[in-house]
Amino acid sequence: MHINEIRHRRNGLHCLDYTVVSLYGEGIGSMDLVSGYKGVVGLVFGNESSGSNEDSYVERLLDRISNGKLAEDRRNAMVELQSIVAESRAAQLAFGAMGFPVLMGVLKEERDDVEMVRGALETLVSALTPIDQGKSQKNEVEPALMNTDLLSREADNISLLLSLLAEDDFYVRYYTLQILTALLTNSPNRLQEAILTIPRGITRLMDMLMDREVIRNEALLLLTYLTREAEEIQKIVVFEGAFEKIFSIIKEEGGSDGGVVVQDCLELLNNLLRNNASNQILLRETMGFDPLLLILKLRGVTYSFTQQKADPGKEANRLTNKTTLVQKKMLDHLLMLGVESQWAPVAVRCSALRCIGDLICGHPRNLEALGSKILGEGLQEAALNSILRIILRTSSTQEFVAADYVFKSFCEKNADGQAMLASTLIPQPYSMTHAPLEEDVNMSFGRMLLQGLTLSESDGDIETCCSAASVLSHILKDNIQCKERVLRIELEAPMPSLGAPEPLMHRMVKYLALASSMKNRDGKSNASGNLYAQPIILKLLVTWLADCPNAVNCFLDSRPHLTYLIELVANESESVCTRGLAAVILGECVIYNTSPEAGKDAFSVVDMISQKIGLASYFLKFDEMQKTYLFASASAAQPRKSLTRSTAASMADIENVDENYLPDGKNDHPILSSIFDSLFVTLVKSLEADIREKIVDVYSHPKSKVAVVPAELEQKSGESEAEYIKRLKAFVEKQCTEIQDLLGRNAILAEDLAKSGGGSNSHSEQRVGGAADRVQVETLRRDLKETTQRLELLMAEKAKVESDASMYQNLASKIESDLKSLSDAYNSLEQANFHLENEVKALRDGGPSTFPDVKAIKAEAREEAQKESEAELNDLLVCLGQEQSKVEKLSARLLELGEDVDKLLEGIGDDVGLPEDSEEEDE
């Protein structure tokens, strides 16, 4: 049958349904109206001849029921209808299309005719019960499902059915309950809503619990369906006294020795208590948990629901529940069941262990109680030791997970407990640690754990070691003292000749390598045993290194560790989680790294990551891991699967999961999902954020090789120019190489960025990667600018020095040219001198011939001049005489005139006065 046809038919039926309902409102449809369906139904079943036969047959029967006059005939018709509907799918379909209004009419109008009512109900049961057709095709509509849908659509129908529960007739109540159960199975939500809106609906159902056995058992089933995930119904059921009734039924049925009825009771009880704080309070406040424990004391699969009690609810309420439960010696019973009862089925033991975990988790007093619990009568042993023994010995993954959960719960926020366990971790000589595991009940917890950690090496099987590693990681979690303490543990080499003892941590890394090599050797197909070995050890390391610089230091002490991790991250054949966790550890080596040692410091690790993996692809590992189903499911705090009959049965199957497990599949391996619990996932997520930040940080503030101290750029006093320049030059050179280095890094980053940009990887990754790069580029640019400025400064200085130099040079050349002109002048002087000397020489050579002439001339001239001067002297003397006489004459005359001649002539006597005299004389 084709989809279209089905849809067509469905639509047709829906239309019919509405018509039917409206008809139903007016009373029972007459024959004519019923026959009106024929066309439609005929159309639907047109190509199915048998269908069409069934169709008209059902139609005829319905007609007889609704229009028949004889009671007997109508009853017969009902019986026939019931039997055909119970046998044929086609008849079920035909009945669904036409029959409901007719039968509901009978139920409503003919309550007195018990036989008719019974028949109608039985027919309804048949119409709602799927008929198993061997050849049924997948896409074929299941008529029974469709019928439940049609019937449950009207709240009035439900109301009518509920009212039938008050009938006296046993079968009426019985069939009604069956109908309701069928309705609940197929459309639970609609029915839950309907029953909630019907006043006293639930009350009526609850009353059925007090009915005779068959009815009661039906009602139990019905209530179990009804209370599933319907908190308000759960409360009402409890209001109606469900707890008392359930416990009384359990008691009646023989407690935990009882059979399926007790199991149904417990399932209902589980429904009522699970995630329902209000009901938990009520049980605790009114009846107490005694009745539960009573059940628990006796053995059986059935106790398992008690674990739900510690399940989510209000925090305070949960604590109270735990307190009360432990006060009631719940712990003892559970330990008895989980640890000491080796005869109990694995599923029961596991549930008991998980319940112990729930009980102690976050409850100090219960933690203490478990910590100091001693088990056994003759040979006594601490409870925790016994549980550890289970972890180390079990071959059941389920049991391992459950027992591991006890330790996880025990160590969570329990520093004292962790310290107590860690304090017993004292290495023993090699021979001692390899004594057989089983026997010594007095063996300390620590010795047993260390033995577990180291034992398996010899048999080349690391499963036990992984189990122990898991426990160790719980002990170390968030506890720095324990981390430090365990760091100091050194193991002797298997053979003393093989060298010095190695730290426990190094041994763990070795196992990690061993696990991957084993996996590679075995090939992927047979990876089951070691599938979780790597994650467990990786988790241990992640937990250990978190917030513990010493652990990081210890880890990096061995250089190959880093290389190995990088290989692990880059190895495509490893699982996404393995690579992701390895990346987390690498990141921890960066963020918790306090080592100043080159090659071990944070910067070198980042450098190595960036060079060997590339930052973008490194961060991609985180993203990939986050996207895995394990992480996604752990983040959404998953409620534990309810332990119902079916899940309890399937628990055994989990043991086979290993074989079917696909590494990339959606079905999570129980161990893996227990490793990736929400706490660990949160830790990894917060680590990731820190790692991203720190790596950006490391890149933004590269450890500068050149310390820039502005004061040092100044010329030191007493430093000569040359020294100063030399020093500056060296400085600039260093900066140059550093810039070069940074440029190189920048190029790597850019390339990385470009690569990641090209890939189809997540955008967020690119953004973050890009941002990191941008930050770094920005930093580099700033550095570059700074350096450029510094360079410019130096250039200016250099220019100044140069100009000074050239000035001095000019000066020098001027002086030189002066000197040159001087020397030239000197030369020319010398030359002149030489010339003169020559001349003198020449003159001296020709001297004797010329000198007499000169002398003669001289003498001649002198003679001539002598003569001349003598003559002039004479003239002068004459003149003088004349003058003298003139003066005498004049003086006399003056004397006569009464003039004092002497006085008058007083000023005359010198040369100057002479001319005056002469002038006066002239007058």
Binding site: T197, K235, S248, P291
Partner: protein, 211 residues
């Protein structure tokens, strides 16, 4: 855990009148100024003593919002007592009392004892309904009346205990068939001599036998 009787109570009334706060004050003796809106119903329990007999009160605090009415109605039938609460500072909560009462009469058993409580009487300055009006309404409808404050705890104990005393009196007077649990009353084994229900507490059958 032993008790002579167990009474089931419900608290009803408009949203925001302080039903949950009354319950919290009664069970935990504390007041929470800001309380989340109740969804569906919440449960609380406390032991009291009447006539020297230990009596366990199981109290279901219902959501006042209209949308939860169909759910809360399921609790009426099985309750022995009801606290019908209004807010003296909000007139409309008083005006709605009639419809609450009608609901109760329709779905609850006829012998349910109803206590009318005018809550928030500490806010006298904002009073919108007088004490007399409350008294009058209670008298007309045959209810016990009391003004109370969940904040100051005034009359809170009294309200719950007085209701219990009324129910107890009705039992003494033979109004109830205590073997029928649908009245919201259960006989324990702590106070009343009767056939032993066994060490594990009183099962319903044991209670039934006592009647």
């Amino acid at each position: 855990m032993s008790y002579a009787y167990l009474f089931k109570y419900i608290i009803i009334g408009d949203t925001g009148v302080g039903k949950s706060c009354l319950l919290l004050q009664f069970t935990d003796k504390r007041f929470q100024p800001v309380h989340d809106l109740t969804i569906g119903v919440e449960f609380g329990a406390r032991m009291i003593t009447i006539d020297n007999k230990p009596i366990k009160l199981q109290i279901w605090d219902t959501a006042g919002q209209e949308s939860f009415r169909s759910i809360t109605r399921s609790y009426y039938r099985g309750a022995a007592g009801a606290l019908l609460v209004y807010d003296i500072t909000r007139r409309e909560t008083f005006n709605h009392l009639a419809s609450w009462l009608e609901d109760a009469r329709q779905h609850a058993n006829a012998n349910m004892s109803i206590m009318l409580i005018g809550n928030k009487c500490d806010l006298a300055h904002r009073r919108a309904v007088s004490t007399e009006e409350g008294e009058q309404f209670a008298k007309e409808h045959g209810l016990i009346f009391m003004e109370a404050s969940a904040k100051t705890a005034q009359n809170v104990e009294e309200a719950f205990i007085k209701t219990a005393a009324t129910i107890y009196k009705k039992i003494q007077d033979g109004v109830f068939d205590v073997s029928n649990e649908s009245y919201g009353i259960k006989v324990g084994y702590g106070g009343i001599p009767g056939p032993s229900g066994g060490r594990d507490g009183s099962s319903s059958q044991a209670g039934g036998c006592c009647g």
